[in-house]
Symmetry: C2
Subunit: 363 residues, 2 copies
Amino acid sequence: MRDRNIMLTPGPTPLPPQVLEAMSRPLFHHRTEKFGRLFAQVISDMKWVYRTSGSVLMMTSSGTGAMESAVVNLLSPGDATLVCTTGVFGDRFVAIHKAYGLAPEVLPSEWGRAVDPDALRRTLKGKPGLKAVFFQHTDTSTGVLNDIKTLARIVREESGALVVVDSVSGLACEPLETDAWGLDAVLTGSQKGLMNAPGLGFAAVGERARKASDEAKLPRFNFDWRLMQKSLADRETPWTPAISIVAGQAAALQLLRAEGMENVWKRHVGLAAHARRLLQEKLGLPFYAKDPANILTGVVLPQGVDGVKLLADILREDGISIAGGQLGLKGKIFRLAHMGYISKADIDAGVDALARRLVGAKA
Amino acid sequence: MRDRNIMLTPGPTPLPPQVLEAMSRPLFHHRTEKFGRLFAQVISDMKWVYRTSGSVLMMTSSGTGAMESAVVNLLSPGDATLVCTTGVFGDRFVAIHKAYGLAPEVLPSEWGRAVDPDALRRTLKGKPGLKAVFFQHTDTSTGVLNDIKTLARIVREESGALVVVDSVSGLACEPLETDAWGLDAVLTGSQKGLMNAPGLGFAAVGERARKASDEAKLPRFNFDWRLMQKSLADRETPWTPAISIVAGQAAALQLLRAEGMENVWKRHVGLAAHARRLLQEKLGLPFYAKDPANILTGVVLPQGVDGVKLLADILREDGISIAGGQLGLKGKIFRLAHMGYISKADIDAGVDALARRLVGAKA
């Protein structure tokens, strides 16, 4: 088992052989026709994934960098914003705001619950000057899916605020319609539904967000969307990109294109159903999220079970990575992911490893 | 020739097969003992490369991101700084300052010339409140090498300012002694002397710089050295790292370790001598830099030769990437790199491709 390496983690997810092969090819320079073609293809395919005719910008960074890029490109000192939090990644949006001297209003949801549309509407009433509202599409810390279509509609109805969505773990897993739902900026990372290695962040930037980025006063350089937008016309990036990961992304997007976006979403419905049926049958433990996404299943461990040790044992003895709970949930839940290139066979192995230990522990 | 791909560009440079192999292995998760070991090895090896017993921090970004990290972690609004420019990358330090609302004093050198130690000393006189002085170790736009040892000594003698060095294209090519020369922060990228794919930035952060980063008031989140430093204790990064490129870096560092740092420097002396001998013999054109580094040779093209077309032809017909001039030098010079994993055979092929066209053009 020592060499087995099954990843059931909510990002990074396993890489298709085509992606590994693309990254193993000799490097080439990024100020060339060859890179320009590759980059243009990635951007074009990303527009297809995002369902947008607006701009898609690429940066060499984690998903967190892409999240920061939205804050610094859309906002100015003193701007009023609202962050709807459903877990760790909503809190990260708040932390980024604070790092830049902004004090966002926060609409927290009970952990495990999605943002309540009525609560959002009440919060938005009487706040005409709000500059932007920030959401997670899915939050991997809680496994929650937010109803972005409805939430964005409510923002439009009640406010002139920009709608900013962190879909780092949602894009190419759960349905998302950037243009049809009126989303102004949607952020993602390469290492989840996009089935690539970590290292690239993307931002879909609509016309209203592009205008806002021209006027925003927060400081930025590496993450300046205006520079990225300008370079895009020459099929370049402002700074040297992670060329190997761009090549990997092109290969992964080709796989998604061949599958078709509706089928990608259906695949995640199928994986989630498979995982939950199996978890129910073999473990019979309660699921954590009340409003679950198809990207992962959070499972509440029985009292007395040391979740940290359990997952460490499974990784060491079975070569399977399963994520634990974060912050207050540490040791109390596990999070079994079923997203991206994770297969039913991977899930079977993971649930089997859990059952062998937990069913014994319960007895 | 169509599939030939020789890179004589000053970053990215070609990848050793061991690096490509490392990047082609199945991905694994970054919150694991396995990644912790890999990351700790990379940091330990980077300290060896930097010649420092201080901290080395790693970020998923281009070298530009590492440069920005130094500005935002060391400075506060209103801080007085000096940027010594020897080409495009000095100008980039200035641009980053301006993006964050700072107005650095600039000590420009004539393009092709290194920073003049006497001019630096004169400029520093009577400026007791200077917070930091910024240098390039080597500037790939001009091919210049700065005498960082002497320049850093002068800063120490004349000022309490921090010494910040962009060694993105110099580290593991030209001698650099972070601790012995009293350098407070040294920045680099993975894709040049470090023989890895682009995607990682590093910062060597000495004790004075670490203290400064605790007190600095410029906003930062993704590039916050304090968060990186804190995660380092757990052999982690604050955000998901570009795991594949970290694996590539470990493989490349193993090669550098086996070679020995003094031998790495000697290799670049040898490559530069070889390239210049050959260029002199086959082309007989003047070299651009008056104070040249061993990383590349800039060559002035004869009047009437379209440098842009020349290099495009060589890339298309011979599969060899050679860089042209930047900004005011566009079309007027070419820059043949001899750094990192570039071999003598690569250089031979590049000079041959140039000679076949230029000797004809001269006749």
